[in-house]
Symmetry: C2
Subunit: 202 residues, 2 copies
């Protein structure tokens, strides 16, 4: 590890280390929870000393905040990626379902929004605002897709697009939690019901 770091040079060490900590923390957050992972867990996983983590993220609240900002970035990349790859509303929705499905399949994980909202009263106060931003970002994206689908006549659902987007997001958040406890089938069933609930009745 040390040898490798020295080989890639000083700047890369810093950047990689920080991102490595962040990735590890993200993994731990989604498989355990915010208050259930510790600096020691990170330390053990990537083989560095605890003060090294404190050097990059001086408090756990700072790490938590960076974590959410990191999620915001990957969310933007993921959703804009879907928009670029697919034009049709149905394809975009399926892209979103697939993205969520990937979270579930990548080993005992759930949606970060879910875990952080479940722990809302115990996470550091400054994490809450960023969390809210990410939640809104996803729901706004979903609402846009739904509005497009309704406009072109390929999707049908009750109420306003943003209301149905909220239903979808809530259901998937709950479904990921159910799926980890009860098996992947729970997730695919919920997706199926959501899909059926938006199909156009002839």
């Amino acid at each position: 590890m040390l040898t490798t770091n020295r080989l890639v040079g000083r700047l890369n060490v810093m950047i990689n280390r920080k991102e490595q900590i962040l990735e590890t923390a993200a993994e731990l957050l989604q498989s355990r929870s915010f208050s259930s992972f510790s600096y020691k867990d990170i330390m053990d996983r990537i083989g560095i000393a605890k003060p090294t983590i404190h050097h990059h993220f001086s408090t756990k609240a700072d790490l938590g905040l960076a974590l959410i900002d990191h999620y915001i970035e990957t969310t933007k990349v993921a959703l804009e990626g879907i928009n670029q790859k697919h034009r049709k509303p149905w394809d975009r929705i399926e892209g979103y379902f697939n993205w969520m499905s990937g979270i579930m399949l990548s080993g005992n994980k759930i949606c970060p929004t879910g875990i952080l909202q479940a722990e809302y009263n115990v996470i550091p106060e400054k994490m809450r605002k960023s969390l809210s931003f990410r939640t809104q970002f996803i729901q706004t994206w979903l609402a846009t897709v739904l509005a497009d689908g309704k406009a072109e006549g390929t999707m049908e659902f009750p109420g306003k697009p943003e209301d149905h987007a909220l239903l979808i997001h809530s259901a998937i958040q709950g479904a990921l939690q159910q799926a980890r406890a009860e098996g992947a089938k729970k997730f695919t069933t919920v997706i199926h019901q959501l899909r059926k609930g938006m199909e156009v009745k002839k």
Copy 2:
């Protein structure tokens, strides 16, 4: 406190104390999370010493298990109460929605299934089985109501009753979490969408 306990007699003291601890723990579980509340929190809230709690629930895993069993009991009472009060499927579903709404309104709380599933990988192993039982119990009840509604022609939804029951339960679980972070409106919106999704199209 002590005086009162002595007045009600020895047996009552034991029973009441145990239930008092359980109620307090339930409150803490739903407002914080399982790993985020401690014996000290209970101790501070009801003014007893920590070893007293250990006397009733020797380990935290035991307390957690008793907590879920307690939830199973109150769930049975609540759902059978709804069945006795209301005959029509729509009234029963609304009774369930109201019950969940009550959780949200009683101060910053969420569904215990939600919090425990969110922490699934960190809760003691013996809690998981009971948790699963309660989840299934609720979904089976919901499926029965949905099946009745479909049979009498007042409800309409895609797929099997148990599949739609899973969607409803997942959505509400997610909605309670969203509502605590983003405001009660999120919950009522999800309920509204679920309701619309089951109405009979003329």
